[in-house]
Symmetry: C2
Amino acid sequence: MKVIDGSITAPQGFMAQGACAEIKKKNKMDVGIIYSTNKSQAAGVYTTNIVRAACIDICKKNLADGTAQAIVVNSGNANACTGEQGRHDALEMTKATAQILGIDPQDVLVASTGVIGEFLPMKNILVGIDAAAHNLSESGAENVAAAIMTTDLFPKEVAVEFEIDSCPVRIGAIAKGSGMIHPNMATLLGFITTDADIDSACLSACLQESVNRSYNMISVDRDTSTNDAVLILANAQAGNNKIDYSNPEGLAKFQKALDFVNIKLAKMIARDGEGANHLIEVQVVNAEDVEKARKIARSVISSNLVKAAVFGGDANWGRIICAMGYSGAEFDQNKVDIYLGEVKVAQDGCRYDFSEELAHNELLNENIIIKIDLNAGEHKATAWGCDLSYDYVKINADYRS
Amino acid sequence: MKVIDGSITAPQGFMAQGACAEIKKKNKMDVGIIYSTNKSQAAGVYTTNIVRAACIDICKKNLADGTAQAIVVNSGNANACTGEQGRHDALEMTKATAQILGIDPQDVLVASTGVIGEFLPMKNILVGIDAAAHNLSESGAENVAAAIMTTDLFPKEVAVEFEIDSCPVRIGAIAKGSGMIHPNMATLLGFITTDADIDSACLSACLQESVNRSYNMISVDRDTSTNDAVLILANAQAGNNKIDYSNPEGLAKFQKALDFVNIKLAKMIARDGEGANHLIEVQVVNAEDVEKARKIARSVISSNLVKAAVFGGDANWGRIICAMGYSGAEFDQNKVDIYLGEVKVAQDGCRYDFSEELAHNELLNENIIIKIDLNAGEHKATAWGCDLSYDYVKINADYRS
């Protein structure tokens, strides 16, 4: 597998384009369309928040047959908590896109991100859809990556190429996050394209597993926004031997590539957390099972106190073990070893005689690794996040203005 | 029921004292003792964090018989994650206190709060215990209230008097909190004294219910520190007709007074959250059941985004309904009305046509009420918290130094 240039238009048969519809600010991309030249296998993973935008329900309905051909998205307005009008507007987005592209509205998926509780400025939206749909091209991917940004500081794109039975296959993706990296803090959107020929059920299962290992490890499951969605289109144009459950080797290769792409984007999202100065990686190793390792890693990465301590360069490992303790996972505290980078700070659940200076130095790195060894089994999990800074508060104190 | 001066020594037969043992800084109270002149009925509610300090286990053990006579506490060091040495030191605190007071060490309860993972400076602790125990007095309560403070800006004391069958009975209490008001963010300690004559099982049940309505409503259940504890001593010196399950009227009066005391302290803790400028009260009304109302209230009060919006004076009600949605409680989003103070901002789950200026003005008040009407039943719950400010980050970025 190798990383290649580009993102969602790197796989064969995909085109994309963004447009400035003045939903956000003047001259900012805020509408985007992703299009496959043929109808594709498709799957989605969505927010579990019971307050959800109409676009989520429309995606679920349109994906009931496991196929789709285009995605339309806007930023600047989440179209959530907007009732019947909101549902009508989201459907209008799929219809307008379908009409220009000459496809069935039910093959168009829709996503929105931004402020909750305001109606979409449909006139602007439709102008944006018109502009994007009429200018689709293989070079339009970066405009869509820009069009989905809200408080993100940089666009997030990645693409890889790998082989299935000697046939080159590509996966490309874009994402947006920010908001202190909790999806509850802002919408997380991920759009993935691939030219792989893959069975619909396999595609769906691979996506869910990959989301568990990536985007769900920069969040706490129950903390989800009204609009979170990760969508994938697989158009089979690579012409590989079909990936399905009778082809475990191919399936494993696809899963590995998909995980790489999603983890790469998840880490970019974490690093770009609002006000962040550091990417924090929490590695939980030697756990009894994966679920336990994930719970502990997520609990530590979600702790405001751990985040603030990293911001302050304070090797306060007590906050780490405290966050482990309320994670909901059982473990033997007397077996826990904790490392900040190379520096062991706790052993057998107690303070280890470490150099405060060396530990402080580890916290000055841009990328900080907190390693937690449970000494209880062979399973592991990794979670990613960022520090909590003054700027996080500043950004969120007056987000709407 | 009336509020009276003082706190833990307001009920008959209680004495208290604090001491400066230089565990925190020079000339700061950091050791305290609370003492009843007779052996008392006693009960406790503790952290659910599986990483917990030895003092929690010692309290549980010493309260197995439902009685105690004294409480010894220190701030500046939590004596958590300190292994066998920590257990030994916590026992030493009970023994030293018991010896001076001439009581059984098993009748002494112990609590600690402060940094995790450092051994207690036992020499200082013992000097502090000696000074406090030899100077117990009815006027020492405020010194103990000061001795349990960590980043708290002001001590928290309250006392009330009420009548059981025409006999005056008193309850007094002190507490400490801070740490952005989540008990996971810092230890929550509460110490309550009463001269009521009350059955041991009733006392325990009343305390648990009262904690559910007060301290647990400024927190999320799973987010607990290593040292949280609320302890109560009831020494029966008021001479009232015994409160037990055969005396429902007396029991209800006691519960009401205990709730008043604990809610008063809980609100003080919320207002004194690190860096806080506002006390936020979230009222959930017309819920199908109490548990649902509590879950939703706690979820909203715990949202960093809601807290930051209040700090910024931004009437961003979408963040409120979003936090409701991931609370884990089921509700009909189309029936939800939301008010900021007097201003209705959402109706039937959608934006209500409100004046941004009036809503902004509501958020300038020191005390802010967010009312959520579920229009689904007759139950309610209230939660308290504070805004998220720059100062919260500042305080927590370098807590240890």
